[in-house]
Symmetry: C2
């Protein structure tokens, strides 16, 4: 998606060989016009697939999922990753390892909000090692629902997320795939 | 806002005398059509006010803020309340006490994303004791920006949030004000 790639080049901050910060439009300040273009693009890519619900994980994924949901005309469910007293005890859950924080955490979704009839599109802002997306796939499968696919804003093509998901038979659509950020320049796939 | 009040009556779950759970459409599963009606209503109530940015706090506030931002045609900034390695060290911040979790936490916004020229509309899902909203007001004021107002989805009118904010001279618009949930029925203000 050219608009997104141009924006990443313009505003992304490269840190070391593996991190790109896109705080100014995707993760902290949110450019809602761009999010609408992204939502439209997700709909185009998944136009031939049944989607009854969009699933994401807090926090940054929520914004992308909500704007995209307008094009699919379906509700959003977001997995909770922080302790919350006000979640049902009866949940689907999966343990996700975070490389950034070097620890595991649980993501949880109340059993009320995904049912076997659902065809669930998973949307997230980043795909790197695929741990979060895999955890979301676990949850959909625990519910006995179908995974319609995984929609990602920025994929780090140099990490194994895509391989991990494809081995599970999941279709992935990423709006921008970064193949390399070594030597301080961004190479798209 | 009648549509919202009807939905709270239909789907809200009352717990004790002070808690109402609206997980099925506002806090865990998100009804994006309803969010659009809410966004339109916020715009109507604040149509005479300059708004250059919408500020909220993760996680549930993000969804409401993003959909509403489409009507104001401005970017969203969300305050981080969880430790994140990828936030700038140079932040505005405020300590917020959570009655639910009985502990304080810091909310933070990178100094890059609010400037003295901004007129910031604060949006959140709930107003109870006003601690989170006050923390967001602190951040806007630290930036030297103006607070355009506070827009809330559900206000607990029986708690002191409104008083706290009004004492600071802040205009509050709540789409539904619950005056009481004692005896198991919801009384709106």
């Amino acid at each position: 998606m050219k608009l997104l790639k141009d924006r990443i080049i313009r505003d992304g901050k490269i840190i070391g060989n593996t991190i790109i910060k896109v705080d100014s439009f995707l993760n902290h300040q949110l450019d809602i016009d761009l999010f609408n273009e992204m939502g439209r693009e997700f709909k185009e890519r998944f136009h031939n697939v049944k989607v009854s619900k969009i699933l994401t994980v807090e926090s940054s994924g929520i914004a992308v999922a909500c704007i995209a949901a307008q094009y699919f005309k379906v509700p959003v469910v977001f997995a909770k990753k922080h302790e919350a007293l006000n979640i049902d005890s009866d949940t689907f859950h999966s343990e996700v390892y975070s490389f950034t924080k070097q620890k595991s955490y649980n993501i949880r979704v109340s059993k009320k909000y995904i049912s076997p009839e659902d065809s669930v599109l998973i949307i997230d802002d980043f795909l790197a090692n695929g741990k979060a997306a895999s955890g979301l796939v676990d949850i959909v499968q625990q519910a006995g629902a179908a995974v319609a696919g995984v929609g990602i804003v920025i994929e780090k093509g140099f990490q194994e997320g895509r391989t991990v998901l494809q081995q599970r038979g999941i279709r992935i659509e990423s709006l921008a795939i970064i193949e390399s950020i070594e030597t301080g320049t961004i190479q798209f796939g």
